[in-house]
């Protein structure tokens, strides 16, 4: 069974990653299956990208799953520059 939460912040950077991590971790234990809607996200920097990856890895290491959905096209392009789209984006999501 999946739990769904939303990140309502427009930014994911040094100033917001702590809040993002709190939001995600309060959404459910890492052993659960969690879906985080990222539709409101307008800006991500390398610190934000690192946090997306690290949280997903934590979840997978604990036997759960963490999926992010709803990224905007320009955010997808940044993930693609780093070559981590497959690691972060839900397979059903549109890719650049």
């Amino acid at each position: 069974m999946e739990r769904h939460i939303s990140w309502i912040g427009a930014s994911l950077d040094l100033s917001t990653v702590a809040e993002f991590e709190r939001t995600v971790r309060s959404g459910g234990a890492a052993s659960q299956n969690l879906v985080v809607a990222m539709d409101a996200l307008e800006f991500v920097d390398s610190t934000g990208v690192r946090t997306l990856v690290a949280l997903k890895q934590d979840w997978e290491a604990s036997g759960g799953s963490l999926r992010y959905t709803g990224f905007r096209q320009d955010i997808l392009e940044i993930l693609d520059i780093m070559g981590i789209t497959d690691m972060v984006v839900d397979p059903g999501e549109e890719t650049p």
Binding site: F43, S46, R50, I78, M82, G83
Partner: protein, 372 residues
């Protein structure tokens, strides 16, 4: 009571902040530049601090605006006409400007100084008794160790390379004392040059240790293995989770005029040639994130004169500005450069196409000029 610390190094500011706040001297506002200090001191409101600043500790070697100019502008504000200012200097610190001292300084403190010395200077100017030091001395000693580690780290960066067919220069600015950015280049065979730039994700000591590890491996890997794919693959085996790095490794063959490269999750390198700028984009994910990667290098030809520009994300990210805009700025700047020397190219890119103010991330910009 509020004390303003103006120093470019984050770690240093944190150490002095801990010393002053835990010593009960007062609250601390710390900033990295003269411009930010003036914003704190400036009128009209909104003021950044509730208490007026009672004393300022200013590093002598601030970027852009020096300590003397900062003191002069700060004292132009009525509440700060008599603001006591301690200037932190390298070497001797005469108070008289005629003797090379900092104009307007109330007192000077020569680096490296002890916690006791700092507190004594501050408390004397504030007219209060210095607190009894417990473990704070240790904190400043750690700060001195970090400063030494920074020198070691910067000391292993490759010096500018001058060769009839290749010239390489770089600008390197860590955001804190230790950096996750690292570059290395060498002529690995006659007419063939290996150029590497890495950015370990994260900042501070852990990132610096990993980047130093990469630097230690680089010469042997680059000289023993000509294939860039195998160099990067070998490097990936040394990554320790959860750390990972993005990086770009190019083997520039000046005889056949081609570049073989592997881009591991790094922003695209930019190749300017005959008025056109070509991206050399990511070929594999960042090192340390996943296994089973095919590190096959990509190949691109060039006709001299050409220029290859490598950079870390600190050059293209600003708060609220997408990395995509920053990369486009660099593309635009590179297109305009022409075949000038590297020093001029780097200076122009830094001043015109890399906005100031990104104190949050390490910054590294590397220009490889391939002259006609």
């Amino acid at each position: 009571m509020s004390i303003l610390i103006v120093h470019p190094e984050h770690d240093f500011r944190q150490l002095v902040r801990a010393l002053l706040e835990e010593g009960g001297i007062g609250s601390v506002v710390d900033v990295s530049s003269a411009e930010a200090a003036l914003a704190v001191l400036g009128a009209p409101p909104p003021a950044v601090v509730r208490d007026p600043v009672s004393l300022a500790l200013i590093d002598q070697s601030l970027p852009r605006m020096g300590a003397s100019a900062l003191i002069r502008l700060a004292r132009a504000e009525l509440p700060y006409r008599n603001l006591p200012v301690v200037v932190l200097t390298e070497g001797s610190c005469p108070l008289s400007p005629a003797e090379g001292g900092v104009e307007g300084a109330t007192a000077c403190l020569t680096k490296p100084f002890t916690a006791q010395g700092l507190l004594a200077s501050v408390c004397a100017l504030l007219g209060i008794s210095p607190p009894i030091i417990t473990n704070q001395e240790h904190l400043l000693e750690m700060g001195e160790d970090l400063a030494l580690a920074r020198l070691v780290q910067q000391g292993v960066l490759s010096p500018p390379l001058r060769h009839p067919r290749v010239q390489i220069d770089a600008i390197y600015e860590p955001s804190v004392q230790l950096s996750g950015d690292m570059y290395y280049w060498a002529e690995v065979a006659p007419g063939r040059f290996g150029v590497m730039l890495v950015d370990v994700m994260g900042k501070g000591t852990a990132a610096a240790l990993i980047s130093m590890g990469v630097r230690a491996l680089a010469p042997a890997l680059m000289c023993d293995i000509i294939d860039p794919g195998r160099v990067v693959q070998s490097m990936s085996q040394f990554m320790v989770k959860p750390y990972y790095l993005t990086g770009f490794y190019a083997m520039i063959d000046t005889v056949d005029r081609e570049i073989l490269y592997v881009n591991a999750g790094h922003p695209p390198a930019l190749l300017a040639c005959q008025g056109k700028v070509t991206d050399l984009p990511r070929t594999v994910p960042p090192l340390g994130l996943c296994d089973g990667v095919n590190y096959e290098p990509q190949r691109v030809s060039y006709n001299p004169p050409a220029r290859l520009l490598l950079y870390t994300d600190g050059c293209v990210e600003r708060p609220g500005q997408s990395m995509l805009c920053g990369i486009e700025n660099l593309r635009h700047g590179l297109r305009e450069l022409g075949d000038c020397d590297n020093e001029q190219a780097l200076e122009r890119l830094m001043s015109d196409h890399i906005p100031p103010g990104n104190v949050r991330d390490d910054l590294c910009l590397l220009s490889v000029r391939l002259p006609a």
